[in-house]
């Protein structure tokens, strides 16, 4: 019964572009985590340099999305798809920027002697990374259930951020020479928390895409801040 | 220019010429009639012709005033008789196109159309003349009316059918009953064409002679009474043409010319009426 339309390949193309951008962002995130854990300044600089590419992708996707709206006047699921793309793209770009921020802090950190390990920070970083990866998976597969699970993990990430911070606080109180590095690490924790928030926002849009329900600013916000 | 193109242009030119020739040939009889009629009759077409009564046998001069008026009266009666009947018939056929009754009516109209005019005249004789034992203008008018009816019926039906269905729907949707829709909207919309049909029918019967022979007869004197025989151009021309008098022959030609002119006028009037009314109807 359904016939192919000539817009279908435009939609496919948008999909591919988004996934490519997603891959690039995941890559940046992974590298920034490695740079952090291995104190690798070279890697950190690479991530910073590569960010321009990701910014360019956002512009291309925006352009193509608006063209599609103008030509196609999308409705129903096509409309929700286009709206989703328009909302996910800046989230991805922000996550990439945050990875860049992480790397800038890493470079600064590496100029100072290494601090004692912060127990929850690596876990925080990996959890945030997993959330972003799962969010993109949920988008690809149209899996609203997975999206909802990811959203639920956000509380966990918030907790880890909090506990990392407490940890760093004690280091700062122990020895004033730790303050500089500890503060930079606090920022890094915050960045990962915000990457996780980005993943959450992406998942909210996935639910909208699949089910047509807008769940932004609901349920999980009740956790309170 | 390629050879093909040249050949095609040649053929085109040839066919253009042939068509023109065909038109000319078709028009020759009309032209000749007009020419003859004018040539022979122009001499007798004078003021007297239009205003004077026929002179007694043998005398020269006089005119066909009574015949001219008679013809006009006769076609007037014919119209009065045929238009309502034919019109209503046409409306019925258009409104109920597929009933058995309608097919019968249509068939009857077609048959009536083909009946020789003299037979119609005899019929009118039996119908109108015999019962009252007198010839009359009414009888003549009725005979001509019968000849008009099929034309009016068919024209009315065709033209009502041509009115776009949207008009009927529009009227009905505003709360018009069917009758109101037909008579208030559809018939007025078809009116230009219907009037043409009537004028064409009038033109036809104005030139009929045979039916008048047994009904209106002829009248040498001035009479506009409907219950008396009445003169008509056609019968008068017929009578004069058969006479041995030259003067009468000339008057017959003049009468013929006048007949042709009347028919021409009616046809042109039909055209003009259509054009004027169409301006109201232009889609």
């Amino acid at each position: 019964m359904t016939v192919p339309r000539h817009f279908d390949k435009d939609i496919e193309e948008l999909n591919h572009l988004l996934l490519r951008m997603g891959a690039m962002v995941e890559d940046a995130m992974a590298r920034s985590i490695r740079a952090l854990l291995e104190r690798d300044t070279v890697l950190a600089n690479e991530v910073i340099a590569r960010d321009d590419e990701i910014d360019r992708m956002e512009i291309v996707i925006d352009q193509k999305t608006i063209e599609l709206i103008a030509k196609m006047q999308p409705t129903a699921s096509d409309l929700r798809f286009v709206a989703t793309i328009m909302k996910i793209t800046p989230e991805l770009e922000r996550i990439a920027d945050l990875a860049q921020d992480v790397c800038e802090r890493v470079i600064e950190l590496n100029r100072e002697p290494m601090l004692k390990p912060v127990s929850d920070l690596p876990r925080l970083a990996h959890d945030a990374q997993a959330m972003v990866r799962q969010a993109l998976d949920a988008f690809v597969r149209g899996d609203a259930a997975l999206a909802r699970q990811v959203i639920a993990q956000d509380d966990n990430v918030d907790d880890l951020t909090e506990s990392s911070f407490r940890n760093l606080l004690t280091y700062m109180l122990e020895d004033a020479r730790n303050i500089s590095s500890a503060i930079r690490l606090t920022f890094i924790g915050k960045y990962f928390e915000r990457m996780a928030d980005g993943a959450t926002n992406i998942c909210e849009m996935v639910v909208y895409l699949v089910e047509g329900k807008m769940i932004k600013h609901t349920a999980h916000a009740a956790a309170g801040e | 220019m390629t050879a093909n193109l040249r050949r095609r242009k040649l053929f085109s030119r040839l066919f253009e010429i042939l068509c023109g020739l065909a038109v000319v040939i078709a028009l020759i009889p009309l032209a000749m009639i007009l020419f003859y009629v004018i040539k022979e009759g122009a001499g007798a077409l004078n003021w007297d012709f239009f205003t004077r009564m026929p002179k007694p046998v043998g005398e020269t001069g006089g005119g066909m005033a009574n015949a001219i008026v008679g013809t006009l009266i006769l076609i007037g009666i014919a119209a009065l008789f045929a238009v309502p009947i034919g019109g209503i018939c046409g409306v019925h056929l258009a409104e109920y196109p597929s009933t058995k009754f309608s097919s019968v009516v249509r068939f009857a109209a077609d048959v009536l159309n083909g009946v020789p005019s003299i037979v119609v005249g005899i019929f009118a004789y039996g119908l109108v003349v015999l019962p009252v034992k007198r010839f009359s203008a009414i009888a003549g008018g009725v005979a001509l009316g019968f000849l008009m009816i099929p034309i009016v019926v068919r024209t009315t039906e065709e033209l009502l059918r041509l009115v776009p269905g949207g008009l009927r729907e529009g009227a009905l949707a505003l709360g018009a009953t069917r009758g109101r829709a037909v008579f208030g909207v559809i018939v007025p919309a078809a009116l230009p064409g219907i009037l043409t049909g009537i004028l064409v029918a009038l033109a036809r019967v104005a030139g009929e002679t045979a039916p008048l022979l047994f009904t209106a007869l002829n009248n040498r004197f001035w009479s506009t009474s409907l219950t008396q025989p009445i003169a008509s151009l056609t019968v008068q021309v017929y009578t004069y043409a058969q006479s041995p008098y030259d003067d009468w022959h000339r008057q017959a030609w003049a009468g013929a010319f006048l007949l042709v002119m009347i028919i021409l006028t009616l046809s042109i009037a039909a055209r003009l009426a259509v054009r004027r009314l169409e301006r109201m109807n232009r889609p």
Binding site: T2, R80 | E169, A176, N281
Partner: protein, 276 residues
């Protein structure tokens, strides 16, 4: 624990229910229950049931031959003129059965006006066109007629264009103007419901948008049902949309729901143009 070092603070959002496409309850002007329609042995409408709300615009969409025109014509019984046509089920307007034995069809058609796809002004003057409905309704008072005619032409957004030539032929107007004239003509008899069967499909885009604006203005005072094959038009103009296919009502919901998140796959396929 909110700290000064926090680069951004999260504002606690109030708890909101997820946004649902709710069916808003308004009063029903036209109530359709299990309505079937037959042309002879052929059934063209199957068990149509829906409630058309008052003073809103309801659009009927669907592919050609899906029965939407037949359905809309059943509301004012324009299908009566088709021989061999038969209806079963009920359509009630304000509670009165349209096909009931004591229904006066002429009265019905005054209460329910109709505008057609191809505009059909009578070959009369503009004035006489709008006055037609009034005249057959028995109105004789010229002053009253003049008032109503001016009001109707104003409501149809045509008054200023024709006020100086009311006695000119209606056929001299442009296509868009003729259609607005037909709307004025329908409005003159003061209907409660206006049925529009693809009113703009024969018009150019500018005339079309004028008609759409008009529909938007009219809906405050009239219940409007519009058949359209132009989905963007349905989306622009209507409050509720019904999707018909093969004589069945597939989905009926708020227009937003139909065009953003339809429930049925067939609706989704039709609305996104994937229909084969």
């Amino acid at each position: 624990m909110n700290l000064v070092l926090e680069p951004e603070s999260k504002i606690a959002a109030p708890r909101m229910a997820p946004i649902q496409m709710n069916d808003i309850q308004t009063e029903s002007k036209i109530s359709v229950r299990d309505f079937d329609f037959f042309y002879g042995p052929l059934q063209v409408l199957h068990g149509i049931s829906l409630e058309i709300p008052a003073q809103k615009v309801t659009a009927l969409i669907g592919p050609s031959g899906c029965g939407k025109s037949t359905f809309i014509r059943s509301i004012n019984r324009m299908n009566d003129i088709i021989t061999d046509a038969r209806a079963s089920g009920t359509i009630t307007i304000d509670g009165k059965d349209v096909y009931g034995g004591d229904t006066d069809v002429v009265e019905l058609r005054r209460k329910v006006g109709m505008v057609f796809q191809k505009s059909n002004p009578f070959p009369k003057s503009i004035y006489d066109n709008v006055a037609y409905g009034l005249r057959i309704g028995g109105m004789r008072n010229k002053r009253q007629m003049d008032e109503i005619i001016e009001r109707s032409l104003t409501r149809a957004a045509l008054w200023h264009e024709v006020k100086d030539r009311l006695h000119a032929s209606a056929l001299a107007l442009s296509g868009g103007q003729q259609q607005r004239l037909c709307i004025a003509r329908a409005l003159a008899v003061d209907p409660e419901i206006l049925l529009m069967d693809e009113p703009a499909s024969a018009l150019d885009p500018i005339a079309t948008s004028k008609i759409e604006e008009l529909i938007y203005e009219l809906k405050d005072n009239y219940t409007i049902v519009i058949v359209t094959h132009n989905m963007q038009q349905a989306a622009r103009v209507s409050d509720r949309t019904a999707f018909f296919m093969l004589g069945k009502l597939i989905e009926y919901a708020d227009t937003n729901a139909i065009f953003m998140n339809p429930r049925e796959k067939m609706t989704e396929d039709y609305v996104t143009g994937r229909f084969g």
